[in-house]
Symmetry: C2
Subunit: 341 residues, 2 copies
């Protein structure tokens, strides 16, 4: 049994002495021990080598003792497994040389056998569970189908993902077919992850906030909700939609165990929009870790008071920035551990 | 007197037969007549030559007959006038080679005599008013002090404007001094614009949505409100904060004449957040102009019904995309003109 149960209890809505804490991208570039590995191995080697992925996953836990680990991986392993070429270009980000932009392209996309195509992820989970020795729970994650579609159609990051929207607005049937293929793959993938040992799941909708509420419903939420419904009996599912404040009300009525919130939504507004019952996770502005440590601690305590200590998981409102000072990250984690209501 | 009074009446909250319509960046790259001028003259030449700026301003009015013109210019003429070098790099955007990042830099920034430093804008306004022959009102604009600060400190566009936030969070006194200098310059600039003949003003807070509600209050809204208070008796002031849904409630209590809304906020939510009395402007997803024209018209009519025809100005939720088909832009404008309640 897992020793530190704070995170899983918060997901169930149980009363806790203090809220649990972890940080999105906690296994990442602000850690010197991560940078040491990055200098030796390229991005997909790190993802695809269970020894490396598991090591990177436990690095932040060893250093700071967060209340949950999250498997080091990338949302783009899904299109890769669907036979879509994905490159990770240094100083540029993801690049997909053959984006899918028409019906013919959609027809060519496969729904893979995930154990075969993504077996390396399951091996990394098993190895990570061994290394964690049941100290803290392990989170597995996937991108939302809309967010994956964004990369698959645009072919790279974008200010507005206009080519994706053009595809959705002019060839909606083809777009929905592709979204369904991504959803089916993601469901099988997350089920395999749970079977391999993860204790909770998070779906990242990084680009949902690019859509109007009506388009979000049609092109993103429908598919996220399929994932929640398929996984709800396997593991608690956290949904984080960056910029998706407008959808929090619908999300709160779903079977998601918790909802991520970004920093543009105040704790009070987030509680109001979600009806006050569901567990919320967030929402410290990642740039606020640039503040002096004493100020970070003050702001974290204020945030906990505003969300309330129960039904709450302390986190950032997006991934930690690459160059955050180690002492500032420590101040964030320590502030939660020192919290007394 | 101005013949087409729809826009000014909507700003006053008067009852109209149909809402007025204009498009953010309507004087821009989707127009072949604009591209023809762009091929001959570089960006700041176009801004600084009254003949060119006025010509570009009236181009979309001639083609589509919007209910308001907006002076062709750029928000970065303000830092330029404050002795901060600004370049506009093709395929890159604004680039400020000497960003301001410390107290010494702030001390060196001047508050200019706007008639001297920005006289070319006032000349462009007078020339545009002549060309418009009182057919439609003319809007003058400025960036919000926070948005100008973003460029002045970061030195270029950014996904998160982390260097600006670092400056605000670690040297708040210096940041506030610089924000005040920008605000003072902007107030003098907008007063001169009104004296030169513009009929309404819009403040663009393009990057306000990067801030938490508390930080927005401190680093953006305070200064926008100073501008509103200084200009409210000179001309109606429209405030458009992209991604600033969380501040709409406070904005509605100010002396702004109208509030811009982006497409992530539904008309119903926008009305609820603003109390239902203030004029709203927006909020068609610019990417929705990629939809077929018949679909654009259907969506525009739906949007007008949802906002209501009164206290409403039809617009996009952000600037028009550069490659929008002329017929699609026409469908957007025509849909409003054809609207029957």
């Amino acid at each position: 049994m897992i020793k530190n149960t704070l995170f899983l209890r918060a997901l169930k809505g149980e009363t806790v002495d203090r809220p649990p804490v972890w940080m999105m991208r906690q296994a990442g570039r602000y850690l010197p021990e991560f940078i040491a590995l990055r200098e030796k191995y390229d991005f997909f080697t790190r993802c695809q080598t269970p020894e490396l992925a598991s090591e990177i996953t436990v690095q932040p836990i060893r250093r700071y003792g967060m209340d949950a680990a999250i498997l080091f991986s990338d949302i783009l392993v899904i299109p890769q497994a669907m036979n879509i070429e994905v490159e990770m270009k240094p100083d540029f980000g993801p690049y997909l040389p053959n984006p899918v932009r028409d019906q013919k392209g959609v027809d060519a996309v496969i729904v893979p056998d995930v154990d075969e195509a993504l077996g390396y992820v399951m091996d990394a989970i098993k190895m990570t569970k061994d290394k964690l020795e049941d100290e803290v729970p392990l989170i597995g994650f996937a991108g939302s189908p809309w967010t994956i579609l964004c990369y698959v159609v645009q072919g790279q990051g974008s200010k507005n993902f206009d080519l994706v929207k053009k595809f959705c607005f002019t060839e909606p049937a083809a777009a929905h077919q592709l979204l369904q293929k991504i959803t089916d793959t993601t469901i099988a993938y997350l089920k395999a992850k749970v079977a391999a040992g993860v204790d909770a799941l998070q779906v990242f909708d990084s680009w949902g906030g690019m859509l109007s509420p009506a388009d979000y419903q049609e092109f993103s939420w429908t598919y996220i909700n399929q994932i929640i419904e398929a996984l709800k009996d396997d593991a608690p599912v956290i949904v984080f939609g960056k910029g998706c404040w407008f959808a929090l009300g619908d999300m709160a009525k779903s079977n998601a165990a918790a909802l991520g919130v970004d920093w543009t939504c105040s704790p009070k507004t987030a509680r109001e929009l979600t009806g006050g019952q569901i567990t919320l996770q967030g929402n410290f502005d990642p740039s606020r870790l640039l503040s002096p440590p004493a100020e970070i601690k003050r702001l974290v305590h204020e945030m906990i008071r505003e969300f309330g200590k129960d039904r709450y998981i302390v986190n950032l409102g997006h991934g930690i920035l690459p160059y955050i000072n180690l002492d500032h990250a420590k101040a964030f984690i320590d502030a939660v551990k020192e919290y007394e209501s």
